[in-house]
Symmetry: C2
Subunit: 345 residues, 2 copies
DNA sequence: TTTGAAAACGAAAACGATTTCGATTTAACC
DNA sequence: GGTTAAATCGAAATCGTTTTCGTTTTCAAA
């Protein structure tokens, strides 16, 4: 049904070769024939068969993205950033969701390799502690860029924020407003982000002569950063201590859960306990009190990730090697209601 | 670099033909050769060249999805539903975002056609009032399924909810709890959803002997269903009337904006004004008061949409025609804080 | 031993575009 | 007119797989 080069060539009594070259402005086609071919191509609305082009050129103008969770304010912003940049360069974006599962992530990466995308962007699942699947992809010369949830041991470009610094600033903010006993909801054990945010929290305490107390750090049993986790941890903390006056929480969603629980328990936020979250979800601006948080630039991260990947795709196409880069994006502390105490202490 | 059939064939001193057939369990290959080929293929980790397969089979095992906005609770749920079903059938999903713009939507559909995806799922942009691009795709025998934001005049399968009924129920709920003067924030003029929700609102009023008053319907100038829109409309309504005691609002996000504005104005929700939203965003459960709303099954809509598209892709592959279907998914009214009045009137 | 059918294999033509390289035509100059 | 260089063109190989259809081999029945 669709028009092929062959048909165009036949109608004009020229060879397929010439038709092809005419459309691509080769020097060895006369202006006259070029004009004729182009005119007819336009008239018939000729579209080169993508599959044939891919087979010859060995590229598909498509990249794959693997993320833990699509329905997620931060990640959907990243996706938007990726798509917007990719579109500018004529690339399409395949999205896969690992559901924070290592097995799925592995399977999906293999699927992308099989479908021969030109490159892969990946943000690791919480469950991933083996990186052979990624190393294997890199070994097969497939450009791979990791973003946000990365593995330090894998030798590829990485687009991240400085979680340690950001957590440090968040915690310092609590100290600055006068909190004396600061807890931390740190989320799951594994991903580097959790670890780094924990480190930043601890370092801020130590730098300000507040001793670090492991019993003030609440883990997440469920494995995900959920609203429920915030509620449960808040209730637990309420039982354990009555003198905690500040919490640095891993994620805004968890913070919202915590605030909800505290409100039910009659704890006033921020006067009894001040809270700083992380990520700047939209929700944090509209809840009462609004949540002080770290703005995590998802959209920019998506853009930067694609552009880095694009650079590497181009490089490897022309056979040059580019040294993997680690790009750190800026975050910002947003001071809002959950840390604006109205009574002096 | 990657292994090809030819290499396998050479190593085993058989023809490419036999190797290919062995891997696909053709009857005219002896069990012995089959075993040998399969073993070697596994050993060398042979992956068929996807581009070559696509060229031969004329299918790419890839579908395209065009949605107005990725960062959106409902749509990201739809995406998740699509991806999860697609994966089961071995399909990859390309996501494109129209930003509610007709021009982008058109360009993107053309891009997908050029890249020869096997089918397209699309939810229309608010700005789209010309459907030739979609009709053209259908004419070229590309399976297309529309979901949520559809155009009635296009002859293809559609996966929707019954916006009229849902809006009717939402409005009726306000009537049931005793509201006497019910306003409506209807969002942008154009998309069918807005129209239908408005119709449901109006019908509910008329069925319950409450006269419909156009001045109680607030449009959206900005063109999108935003938090800001909710605030502005709420402020305007507060100026215009002091006896409105219920509002049916097009979208939860707008409802949240409205609630925020009302709280700043000292209007009590739900006692002064009861509010019903639409879509059941996660946010609606955690805000105070929690918002009564219509649960819109995004995940199921994604699944259903893909499965319908899959059916049509299969059908057209084998040359049969399937009559376009319109599937209506169930919605549910969720009664929450924003309609639970604590004082009698 | 011949015959015939069934089993096993492979040559070759697709799929549609790209690109190399050789062939032909045209134009230009002496 | 003859020679040469430049301008145009096209045959054919290639990308890797699939599939048709004809060929060879095998083996049991006659």
């Amino acid at each position: 049904m669709p028009i092929t080069l062959k048909e165009i060539a036949e109608k004009l009594n020229i060879s397929v070769t010439t038709a092809s070259k005419a459309l691509k402005d080769y020097a060895d086609v006369s202006p006259k024939t070029k004009a004729k071919v182009k005119a007819l191509a336009k008239e018939l609305n000729y579209q080169p068969n993508a599959f044939a082009v891919h087979l010859r050129t060995k590229e598909s103008k498509t990249i794959g993205v693997i993320i833990p969770e699509v329905v997620h304010h931060f990640f959907s912003n990243v996706i938007r950033g990726i798509i917007s940049e990719a579109e500018k360069k004529g690339y399409l974006v395949i999205i896969l969701q690992s559901n924070e599962s290592y097995d799925m992530e592995k399977k999906q990466l293999e699927l992308l390799m099989k479908q021969q995308v030109d490159g892969v962007l990946i943000s690791l699942a919480n469950g991933t502690n083996n990186f052979d699947h990624i190393k294997k992809a890199i070994q097969q010369n497939k450009p791979v860029v990791m973003f946000d949830k990365i593995a330090k041991v894998v030798n590829c470009s990485k687009i991240i924020i400085n979680d340690i610094d950001a957590a440090y600033n968040a915690t310092k903010h609590l100290i600055d407003i006068g909190c004396k006993k600061i807890a931390h909801f740190r989320g799951p054990l594994l991903p580097q982000n959790s670890i780094d945010r924990f480190i930043g929290y601890k370092r801020a305490l130590e730098d300000h002569d507040m001793k670090y107390d492991p019993s003030l750090v609440y883990l997440c049993e469920c494995g995900d950063n959920s609203f429920e986790e915030g509620k449960i941890n808040a209730q637990q903390l309420h039982q354990d201590f009555n003198d905690v006056d500040g919490i640095f929480i891993n994620t805004d969603l968890v913070a919202i859960g915590a605030i909800t629980a505290f409100q039910e328990l009659g704890v006033n936020i921020p006067n009894d306990i001040a809270i700083v979250g992380f990520s700047n979800w939209f929700m944090s601006t509209v809840i009462t009190p609004s949540i002080s948080t770290i703005d995590q630039p998802g959209y920019a991260m998506g853009q930067t990730s694609f552009n880095q990947l694009y650079k590497e795709i181009k490089a490897q196409k022309y056979g040059d090697y580019v040294e993997p880069e680690t790009i750190t994006l800026k975050t910002e502390l947003l001071k809002r209601g959950s840390t604006q105490k109205t009574i002096c202490n």
